[in-house]
């Protein structure tokens, strides 16, 4: 019987080269990313473990991204602990509060390559699947054990096969596609599972929109969602890591899948989608929720804060003003994205339209800072989660949508179909 992508990628990291769905395997980690959870939770655990040295200072990246720059005294203390740890342990890759969001920085720095096994102390670590990596989120204790040993155990996941063919129409983005897929899967439809994407839509998709899709597979509970390498990934790798050697991994033709979903976008064209409160799997066509008044519009995060996201928002906002009384907050995913947006003149378009452009941080998405919601407020956001209270007050509500839909909604002061502006 053939092997899935998840089975092959994991098998390449075990001592005996074996991994079959359902097995529990010990695997060698290529790269571990830890963020503020290092200072707040992992360092105290390491003390309990009588830990001395990290297993390999080259295979660890520390990122201060969730509350960047520090939003209060506690986050400042966490950042201080992270800086000390990086210095004491000689960790080679460190991104302080000036860099941006981990899931954007890792690929930009050339630290993600096809075939890698990458663990992050963050659930959205599934993002690196866009690069043909097996990547998943674990928490503090597992991260501490990896810091000490470079190993972790995994249950080899079963796989759901999703095929998407056809073209996304104008103002319809990969965010809309993943919101549709999440609606079909439900909040635990991919729990413990790997998702593999196939079809012409995915083959022809650039790196940014692929990352958006892999980022959100965890909202259906997925463990990982490795995609196959395409031309965009090849040129990305040439650009960010020209000397790094990597090989692409493909599933076998006779690999076994536990579920198959297929989408034909030429036959059934996709509408812009909006996930209503309080779950990312509550997707509906924008037409259904059009006209819901908003207080805040947010464009940013590891889901949709990349240059292609900012470009489409700028296209909609250029020469226009956002509705009075509405706040539009734009948080580029990384410093590099920010600089890129500056050079392209996007920041000027945003400022002229009445937006607030912040530094790169997870900030508003986790209800941390730079866009926290008050009681009763409504936000339309390009982020990944709209759980109750996620971005602030427990009585605020969040609608998830693409950057195009969020920008159009900011202009109208209510949820708006971007194809109409």
């Amino acid at each position: 019987m053939g092997k899935t992508l998840a089975e092959k990628l994991l098998a390449n990291h075990t001592d005996d080269g074996k991994a079959t769905a359902g097995d529990i395997v010990e695997a060698h980690i290529d790269l571990l990313m830890v963020h503020e959870v290092l200072g707040s939770r992992i360092i105290p655990i390491l003390k309990e473990m009588d830990f001395k040295h990290v297993w390999d200072p080259k295979r660890i990246i520390v990122v201060n991204d969730h509350w960047a720059p520090a939003s209060d005294i506690n986050s400042a203390e966490i950042h201080r602990r992270n800086r000390n740890f990086v210095r004491e342990q000689g960790i080679m890759n460190f991104c302080d509060v000036d860099c941006g969001i981990s899931h954007q920085i890792l690929p930009e720095s050339g630290l993600v390559a096809p075939g890698d096994l990458i663990i992050g102390s963050d659930s959205h670590s599934t993002t690196y699947g866009a690069f043909n990596a097996f990547s998943t989120g674990l928490a503090a204790t597992d991260s501490a054990l990896i810091l000490a040993t470079g190993m972790s155990w995994f249950m080899v996941p079963e796989t759901i096969r999703i095929e998407v063919d056809g073209k996304l129409s104008k103002m319809v983005m990969s965010k809309d596609l993943i919101l549709l897929i999440l609606k079909d899967l439900g909040p635990d439809g991919a729990n413990y599972k790997s998702i593999e994407f196939f079809g012409t839509t995915i083959d022809n998709m650039d790196v940014g929109p692929r990352m958006t899709m892999c980022n959100m597979t965890v909202e259906a509970g997925a463990k990982c969602s490795p995609m196959m390498v395409n031309g965009y990934v090849e040129s990305w790798m040439k650009n960010v890591a020209p000397t790094r050697k990597w090989t692409s991994t493909k599933p076998d033709d006779d690999a076994e899948y536990i579920q198959n979903l297929t989408y034909d976008l030429n036959k059934d064209p996709l509408c812009p989608m909006v996930a209503t409160p309080d779950n990312p799997t509550n997707g509906q066509s924008v037409i259904e929720v059009s006209g819901v008044p908003i207080d805040q519009a947010f464009i940013g995060s590891c889901t949709n804060g990349r240059i292609d996201d900012l470009e489409i928002a700028a296209k909609i906002l250029k020469g226009k003003k956002i509705r009075k009384g509405v706040r539009l907050i734009i948080t580029p995913a990384s410093r590099e994205t920010y600089v890129h947006a500056l050079h392209e003149g996007l920041v000027e378009i945003f400022m002229d339209a009445g937006a607030i452009v912040t530094n790169s941080t997870c900030g508003a998405c986790v209800g941390g800072h730079l866009g926290v919601l008050g009681a009763g407020e409504v936000c339309i956001s390009t982020t990944n989660r709209n759980f109750r209270g996620r971005m602030g007050h427990k009585d605020s509500s969040i609608y998830l949508a693409s950057p195009a839909t969020v920008a159009a909604s900011a202009l109208e002061g209510a949820i708006t179909d971007p194809r109409r502006v």
């Binding site: 503020e36 959870v37 707040s40 939770r41 655990i45 309990e48 473990m49 009588d50 969730h66 509350w67 939003s71 209060d72 506690n74 986050s75 203390e77 966490i78 102390s121 963050d122 659930s123 989120g137 674990l138 928490a139 503090a140 204790t141 597992d142 501490a144 054990l145 000490a148 040993t149 909040p187 635990d188 729990n191 413990y192 509970g221 463990k223 779950n279 986790v366 209800g367 941390g368 926290v372 989660r385 759980f387 109750r388 209270g389 996620r390 602030g392 427990k394």
Partner: protein, 170 residues
């Protein structure tokens, strides 16, 4: 620390489906460095009185997909800190399930428990047998017994203690 895993008796706190990590502990409290302080905000959104009323060995009973969302280990940690003796659910989200055992919080997968047990009712969990017994009528709900590997992890008091006993000595 050795936990009693065959007789965990306490009052049930019953929840529905899809209780995510933000409902267990909201993101705004994650920078609090002291778990006892953070635990004062456990279940603040779905059950505002939880933190003031919870007693040692109380049991959380939920429907499908308990603990979805963020990877935050703070979620099982604040439950442990609140004195919760066991969480029973029809299913658990992947990362929460792993985190629970890692921090030494007993978890049991059992069908229909959230429908059969009344909020506040006293129940007894036997994790080795994988059962939940209602005190009122002695009804027994059969769940999925955890593996020996997980029982060892829980008996040791979590993954760190297990590491100190095993891997750390290599």
């Amino acid at each position: 620390m050795t936990r009693n895993l065959t007789n965990i008796t306490g009052r049930a706190w019953v929840f529905g489906n899809d209780i995510n990590t933000d409902q267990i502990i909201q993101g705004q409290y994650l920078t609090i460095l002291d778990y006892a302080e953070m635990a004062k905000h456990t279940f603040e959104i779905p059950r505002p009185l939880f933190a003031s009323k919870v007693k040692k060995n109380d049991i959380v009973i939920a429907g499908r997909n308990f603990g979805g969302g963020s990877s935050r280990e703070e979620a099982p940690k604040v439950l442990l800190e609140s004195g919760i003796g066991c969480v029973i659910a029809e299913s658990f989200a992947r990362i929460f399930y792993r985190n629970g055992f890692n921090v030494g919080l007993p978890l049991l997968i059992a069908p229909n428990a959230a429908k059969l047990v009344k909020d506040g009712e006293t129940v007894t969990v036997n994790l080795v047998e994988g059962t939940l017994t209602l005190r009122s009528n002695k009804d027994i709900i059969h769940g999925k017994p955890v593996t020996e590997r997980i029982l060892n992890l829980l008996s040791a008091g979590g993954a760190v203690q297990w590491y100190r006993k095993t891997l750390g000595k290599r």
